[in-house]
Symmetry: C2
Subunit: 268 residues, 2 copies
Amino acid sequence: MSAATSDGTVAKALEVLDLVAGHGRPVRFSDLLEQSPYPKATLYRLLQTLVSQRMLAFDPDRASYSPGIRLVRLAHVAWQQSSLAPIARPYLDQLSAEVGETVHLAQLDHAQVLYVDKRNARDPVHMYSQAGKVGPAYCTGVGKAMLAHLPQERLPEVLAQQSWHPFTPKTVTTPEAMRAELEQIRARGFAFDDEEHEPGIICVALPILSSRGAVLGALSVTSTTARTSLAALEELVPRIQSIAQTIAQETETWRFPEEDKTQPRKRA
Amino acid sequence: MSAATSDGTVAKALEVLDLVAGHGRPVRFSDLLEQSPYPKATLYRLLQTLVSQRMLAFDPDRASYSPGIRLVRLAHVAWQQSSLAPIARPYLDQLSAEVGETVHLAQLDHAQVLYVDKRNARDPVHMYSQAGKVGPAYCTGVGKAMLAHLPQERLPEVLAQQSWHPFTPKTVTTPEAMRAELEQIRARGFAFDDEEHEPGIICVALPILSSRGAVLGALSVTSTTARTSLAALEELVPRIQSIAQTIAQETETWRFPEEDKTQPRKRA
DNA sequence: AAAATAAGTTTCAAATAGTGAAACCTGCAA
DNA sequence: TTGCAGGTTTCACTATTTGAAACTTATTTT
């Protein structure tokens, strides 16, 4: 959470932005003051700057701050360009239709899992509000699938940033145990989540890897112990595998078309 | 575009962020250099900061910058809290089903129209990538509907920021003409777009107003001259009106539930 | 109604962080 | 080898940021 305390004013402003966004509701100045390491005046000025930049919105009636509309704009582009979601969309639809279970597409952000897209078993409508959530890496299928294929040198750092909170009795709670499991996951090519995050919830997950082996993201099919078993989910592996590969290929293939440099671009 | 050249480092960093995002594709350093007002070293450092903050991603192979994954995270919250989209969703679905035409939900960002949600006549799936786009205010139905209800004192500034580009022969291209039309729109309560942005495209739009008359957003139904007429669209006004009112009411009603202050919140 | 307390805003000298011209790399092409 | 474009680093100079404290409202309390 705290991240780099080193970077400068921009980092501070962004930290405040995260703080406001992290609340999930409008926040008042004094609440922020409690939670931020900055003195009153500094925080006050940072907030002012963010508001004047429309990254935050201030509601004078309720005297509270919320994320601003400019973020929505930026987000559109980030989503389109920096996530696998647009490329993976048709394949998620396909997979979802085939297996009829919840499907997740995730990427790694810092040391956490960021769900960038999702298909629900019952309601296959793709809603943005269902993506964008973050989750722990050490106790989710997609998380472990990605950790297993991280470059060796990054692993210690990332493992150190996990909370190792025992969500369920089955949660793996030590880096050592995790390393062993990751080894296994790497060897067999897929990961399970055996009720490690929520009781009754199980899943199979596969990494999406570039041709050079870099982790691009992960794909998972989730269900419940009431409806199915790990063994049954394992049967889906080849299908998920093939889709993961297709997505990886498309990601690498889809270079942006050559820019037309004859005309300088204009803006309204 | 240039906005406040006054604000400080944060503003500069955000301007660079916009610049990268505005490209819609990975951009190289030298391209950015051309387009930004900053000297090499400054731009370089700003980019470094943004990358280290994960607001931008740098691809070493292609030596280019793209919007970063942290934006996607922030976006989720911004979308949920700072746009009318989540509240309006069911009503958009309803309206879309009833009229069978394209429906837009927009808000005003700076002096531009930001589409925060959309329903398509054919494909009613709600995809994030279709929202988040921006458009001009002076030649779209939603734009004019919102401008018409802006506080008097803000109007000159906002009108001054329009490009007045004549997209079609029917585009209104002067602030004076626009003022007259806005008067009319305010009086009758709704706006048309009579092929002012794209030939063949017409729409009716209504503002979404708070109980105190503040502009919250706008709602429109769009079609083509081939399929319908302005007169026919006008018949939808009462229905759209009622939905706009419902959305406004819900927005004002939906205060966040009282926070439980007995327990300090924790974070994994 | 006055006093007390809390919540939010402004000030200003000191400290820090940001600036950008210019020098310096580093591949790549001639 | 030389030239050169794209990119990175340096460093003295400057402007911005900092935060304790003083100051203004609002909100309670007595």
